[in-house]
Symmetry: C2
Subunit: 212 residues, 2 copies
DNA sequence: CAAAGATTAGGGTAAAACCCTGATGACAAA
DNA sequence: TTTGTCATCAGGGTTTTACCCTAATCTTTG
């Protein structure tokens, strides 16, 4: 009998941890070696336990599981990370991929899919579906590239636009003239290929990477 | 030994159903009599099984658990409904209360709280915390009352404003003149006590009851 | 029928967004 | 050093949008 796959679980919902714990127990070849409800504890425990797989949620009260994934891959690359979340959003999916996660599972999937995904990432495989890979590529093309084409100042202005500030208010906030802000706004619209300020706001508002 | 509390579970995440099933099994006095992943099946099963308690999520792919609660209370009032959701939002909390739910639990709470809440609602008690009741009253005062003061047309216009349409576009959509729309917008702002169109949009956007 | 309120609309002003051009300064390649 | 590129800044002028007022219909209800 091969040694069991050592798994770390992190989710802010006790009921999800309970479900995962029971299902992993029942699988036989999977062993839960650590369990936590907050991101701040994840990195330390990964270093302590050196699990084969870390199953992480995304939105925690005290932080973000994808950021935790990035840290894990930086300091314990031998631990595979599987993102397991309720949020089926391209932003998170693409970010998880970029952070080195071996897979991204939505909580709506069946439990045998979760179990099998843990086994696969423990073997060093990835579990992204072709559809997910397509979505990641499309996101990079449609959002990340255009976003990188913006200058620091333009991104700053776009964030303030997304907060529904007028150009006048943005100008006050940044201590520059109204005309300057108008120029930045026009540049943002041009670079993103958007017709109106309104479209720019809509574009920005579903880009979670802009929020912080 | 008293007869067990008969419980129906509905949640779109298999992992949550699994966790609840195991925890209820372990409690001893709680019996899961039905389990489902979609709202459309809830009402039929409640009628069939006549459970003591229905534990419902809120956002399902095919509908809304709070709406299901309303239907249950209309046709099987003896079944207590406990909302169990990840969304800790005043809109949902107040809607659940209005729909006759006996309690509103956020998924972040400890499992013993969930178990005890099921026992309590089975005995006919409510599980709203004083803080939750305060939030419900504040919501009614701050949102529901002002919203009810709007006419049908004004609510319609507010929805379109929240979709970031300009007054001109709203006028086209409703086949009325720009001037008419401007009047409605002004009325909305007056009734809600808001300074600007922008504030009205912000007000509307976090009112989930306006979205559909 | 009379009063109240909902829906419609127009006139006029202020503000915001949007188009163009252009100056300055930093930095890197020729 | 010079020259080209680009980020940042800014103004002139136009169009669009929002906002203020008043007021005519139409519906509903006491």
């Amino acid at each position: 009998m091969p040694p069991p796959v050592r798994v770390l679980l992190a989710d802010d919902h006790p009921i999800v941890r309970s479900g995962l714990r029971h299902e992993l127990d029942q699988a036989g070849d999977l062993l839960v070696v650590a369990e936590m409800s907050r991101v701040c504890a994840i990195l330390d425990r990964v270093r302590q336990e050196g699990p084969d797989v870390a199953v992480l949620g995304v939105e925690f009260p005290d932080g973000n599981g994808i950021e935790a994934c990035r840290q894990i891959k930086a300091s314990c690359p031998q631990t595979a990370v599987l993102i397991f979340t309720a949020f089926d959003q391209d932003t998170y999916l693409a970010q998880a991929w970029a952070a080195g996660a071996a897979g991204y599972l939505v909580k709506g999937v069946d439990l045998d899919v979760v179990i099998e995904a843990i086994r696969r990432v423990a073997r060093g495989e990835q579990t992204y579906t072709p559809e997910q890979l397509r979505r990641i590529r499309a996101w990079q093309e449609r959002v990340e590239k255009p976003l990188q084409s913006l200058t620091a100042r333009e991104t700053e202005v776009l964030k303030l636009m997304a907060d529904a500030l007028t150009n006048t208010e943005i100008a006050e906030r940044l201590h520059v003239s109204l005309k300057t802000v108008e120029t930045h706004v026009q540049q943002v619209r041009r670079k993103l290929g958007l017709e109106s300020r309104r479209d720019a706001i809509a574009w920005a508002s579903h880009i979670r990477s802009l929020q912080p």
